[in-house]
Symmetry: C2
Subunit: 131 residues, 2 copies
DNA sequence: CTGCATCCTACCAGATACTG
DNA sequence: CAGTATCTGGTAGGATGCAG
């Protein structure tokens, strides 16, 4: 894909893919798709995420211009996160990918089951050979 | 996204995203997009990949039904890897994502530069405060 | 409430050496 | 040629404690 393109851009593609690959990024983006959210709201809705990971994830997304951070200098502090235009447009290809997995979910599952079954058989054969 | 859907499928979505996130999967899929390739061909074309990682990557993709493995029982051994139909169709959303990054590459880069610049300034302010 | 710093662990990529 | 087996360093990420 990157053969006849700017290698710098391919670098960025890899980076964004790696970003998507981590456990939390997509979940956070999806949550923010419903509208701006406070830090603790996100912490609650993205079940299982640690404070640290939420902070790190949001920082990365903010740096890439996907998410916008707004601090209300009140006490107690209130910080809101929202998708930028860029972030919203990023959601589209992500959803496309999610959609693909949904439609092909069954084929993937059966492929895995078949593979695992074959491997068990192979393991059995190996045992026979060894015995 | 997964709110009103089968949680099992969402699990699969996460898994596939994680798959995409790793360093080599997408590269391998792209290489195979040009047609079937032997193990050592892939090793050569996917620059920097180790034997071990190539094996692992191909096994995962084979398990998910993305890649098909054909052994020719000759000597020396010859093993060919090819995309399945599922694999080829998987390429589409991936390309869509790659395309998105390409088109928005500049915005991402400037967002990052801005963010980093702001942070340097902040760091400077902190130092002033501390001094 | 938000978020940084620190510590600690488990896991994984990479290198190397060996096998059919 | 196409793998497997084993070791090791680096890192992602959770838990905890402190601060503004």
């Amino acid at each position: 894909m990157c053969d006849n393109y700017d290698p710098t851009k391919c670098q960025t593609v890899s980076e964004m893919l790696a970003r998507l690959g981590d456990k939390w990024t997509v979940l956070v983006i999806m949550m923010l798709g419903d509208g701006p959210q406070r830090f603790s709201d996100l912490k609650r809705s993205v079940v299982g995420i640690s404070q640290r990971m939420l902070t790190l994830t949001l920082r990365s997304l903010e740096r890439d211009g996907i998410v916008e951070r707004t601090v209300h200098p009140t006490v107690p502090p209130k910080v809101e996160y929202a998708l930028t235009d860029l972030g919203r447009s990023f959601g589209e290809p992500i959803r496309a990918l999610g959609g693909w997995v949904f439609t092909h979910h069954d084929r993937i599952q059966t492929a895995r089951a078949d593979f695992d079954r074959r491997n068990e058989v192979d393991a059995g054969n190996k045992l026979i050979k060894l015995g």
